[in-house]
Amino acid sequence: MLETPCIRQYSFTVTPQGDNVAMISENLCGAVNQQERPGAEQWAVGFVDGEGCFSISVVRNPGSRFGWQVQHEFAVTQAASSRPALELLQEVFGCGRIIEQHRPVDHRQVLLRFSVKRRSELVDRVVPFFEANPLRTAKRADFEQFAQVLQMMQAGVHLSEDGLRAIASITETMNRRQRSRYLESSETIRQPSRTTAR
């Protein structure tokens, strides 16, 4: 079966009239297309379970309300040869961009990053997707905290300093469990919050 690189595949599409029509499609080696790939959504879940990253960080931004800003990103980073996989993710999620970045050590090595940062896209597409198609590894815990923070932001929690602190506390329990620079910054120490910090 795999001796010939071009594999004929059948896929069914529904015409506007609602009839099921069998279509023969050429699957050129490497070509991936959500329409020709039943199970693309579960594939995306598995791929993200392995390679995905849900990150929230509170970063310094002098122009922001309190001098600090919440950044959120759903990303998958791969070597350049895996571009078809990232393009399939774009199709499945219906959003996100693919950005080139260079490896810090070896500048000749190009990495590609599928990235969704816009809060509306995260809230309208990414979060509902993983609520309908749950992750199966421990990455689910990171996703749930990611979704929780986004929900808090939709409710305007980040617009108060206490809310910002609460969000920063959550970031300390996610991913690599690093201390939040915001929580350690002089501003927050000078203004003790009513809630216990850590």
Binding site: M1, G39, Q42, W43, F47, V48, G50, L88, T137
Partner: protein
């Protein structure tokens, strides 16, 4: 399945059986964390191929904190073991190294469910697994073909400890083979 834990933590007591894996999910996960590996070892007991042994192994890697998903691959594929990547490593691997399991279970599965990222490496892997079953590696030409195939996989063999020439020509004590063996790849 998992309980509704308010802190969001996935229940680590989940047994492998309760993690029923979807085939397409497995393909995606392998596209991310899997590795189709063909390695070459020196084995003094194998004289037919000048002490070189070709070993095909299918790996899926994961941090030890989340071993449940690796263990779920064992009932899913009906073969394989979960072990530590290295003596001091915190990474675990689900590994299938029995050639018959590779040929009868792993290879057919990925021929049925196409990989998006690892397709080319898998195809070389499948070819090598089948050729080993046909004992093609026992002839000089067959051995060389499989070694070249292996060196074409996984970043073009750049991460291998030995160069292609070292493997094909062998140590300096062995008799130099016909010139065709090193036609400058």
């Amino acid at each position: 399945m998992s309980s509704d834990n308010p802190s969001g933590a996935v229940n680590q007591q989940e047994t492998a059986e309760s993690l029923e894996l979807d085939a397409h999910w497995v393909v995606g996960f392998v596209d991310g964390e899997g590795c189709f590996n063909v390695s070459l070892h020196r084995n003094p007991f194998i004289r037919s191929t000048r002490n070189w042994q070709i070993q095909a192994v299918f790996h899926v890697y994961q941090h030890q904190a989340h071993r449940a998903v690796l263990e779920a691959l064992i009932p899913f594929f009906g073969c394989g073991v979960v072990r530590r990547k290295g003596p001091k490593s915190s990474v675990l691997t689900y590994a299938v190294s029995r050639r018959l399991d590779l040929e009868q279970r792993i290879v057919p599965f990925f021929e049925h469910h196409q990989l998006v990222v690892k397709g080319p490496d898998f195809r070389a892997f499948a070819e090598i697994v089948r050729a080993l079953g046909r004992k093609e590696h026992l002839t000089t030409a067959g051995f060389e073909r499989l070694v070249r195939l292996a060196y074409g996989m996984n970043a073009q063999g750049k991460r291998r400890a030995r160069t292609l020439e070292e493997v094909l020509v062998g140590s300096s004590e062995t008799v130099r083979q016909a010139p065709s063996l090193f036609d400058g790849r």
